[in-house]
Amino acid sequence: MRRFDLVLPNTVEDCLKILAERGAQAKLVAGGTDLLPQMKNGVLKPAVVVDLSGIARVRQVDNGNGLRIGAAVTARELEVSPALRGAYAAIAESAALVGSLQVRNLATVGGNLCNAAPSADMAPPLVALEALAVIAGPKGERRVPMADFFTGVRQTVLAPNELLVELIVPPPGPRSGGQYLRHTPRRELDIAVVGVASQLTMTDGRCTTARIALASVAPTPVRATAAERALEGQAVTPEAIERAATLAIEAARPINDQRGSIEFRKHLVRVLTRRTLTTALARASA
């Protein structure tokens, strides 16, 4: 890595002060699992790095009054958190898949979202659960729905003088279940060729809310809205699932790259949508 200044704020306020002065040349680091590789490859050359590991507020998981997840909560903490059972299971599942244990003990949900790679594993479940991003800036805090948070490959709505502080996940309803699955060539240390999160909320045997979010098939995570509409208001039969799985392909605009071809990615969208919907239904009905 090239040389840089390192700043070690202890509060969100201190952090915002630094970003106000030097935000344009600064990068925030929490786990470093996306930032450091990019700096070592020369893709990013910030003059200043701001370490978030000393700020307590962004490290809590709280399920007291609705689920709130601090931005610097690690993937491992999410993987094992008792607050992420039941309807929120897909978040824990996605966190459990990141890299390896050595990476999950460092990688944060905020970093995963702010790095905004199309393959970010923790994005689809948060999109499917309609989470809100709480962003602190010079004028106070604002909330942005997860589905609107991403604006392009490695691009989000965050301004250089802003900081993601936490995520708020509204309770999805009493009979709700979800799953996140991804396809990777290896069982560990890998990155999603395609990732799918499905969340179904049921009432009296019918689906009231269906949310399907896809990773790695577009510049940002995308919702398969046609598939969602086809499920809402219906009984979720195997035929309905199959139809939704096929419709989900419409939302996918994958590219050919060294991880997978367009053909394979579309194929996987169908397979993983089918599988996650099947499991989401079972979990919602349990």
Binding site: M1, V29, D51, G99, S100
Partner: protein, 163 residues
């Protein structure tokens, strides 16, 4: 740019060392503290050769900045065994079962295995494999590693502790 003072605990000893702000934890351990056990195999968190414990959890030290362990506890392979002259049951099992070949992955694997056994004292084969899945080894094919970790687990369980 001026160096920064890193104060932390490494292998149960308090350490104060001046580090460049852009130094990774791995490089600080190897070059500033003189602990060359953790290795760089890739620098991007994809191989596990740099695995150390921070506050008891395995991390890829190539992805941490040294200053991020301020006030925290770090353990490297050099601090795995309880005393200078004895081997941890994991190290002993690895030697007797003929695990190390080139040896480059071994410090990282042992740190991952040690953390696994503290968390899961009687791991199944699958749990062992996932416990070291973040550590690439090119020489051994992992089979003897799994057997040695299993044997060490038995030894530790018989002793009634994980250290």
């Amino acid at each position: 740019m001026p160096k920064q003072l890193l104060s932390c605990t490494i292998n149960d000893q308090p350490v104060e060392v001046l580090v460049q702000p852009y130094t990774t934890l791995l490089d600080a351990l190897r070059e500033d503290v003189g602990l060359t056990g953790p290795k760089e195999g890739c620098g991007t968190g994809d191989c596990g050769a740099c695995t150390v414990h921070v506050d008891g959890r395995v991390v890829a030290s190539c992805l941490m900045l040294a200053m991020q362990v301020r006030g925290r506890k770090v353990r490297t392979i050099e601090g795995l065994a309880a005393a200078d002259t004895t081997l941890h049951p994991l190290q002993d099992a690895f030697v007797r079962q003929g695990v190390p070949q080139c040896g480059f992955c071994i410090p990282g694997v042992l740190m991952a295995a040690a953390a696994l056994l503290e968390q899961t004292p009687r791991p199944s084969e699958e749990e062992i494999r996932y416990g070291i899945a973040g550590n690439l080894c090119r020489c051994t094919g992992y089979t003897k590693m799994v057997a040695a970790i299993s044997e060490a687990a038995e030894t530790l369980a018989a002793k009634g502790s994980a250290r």
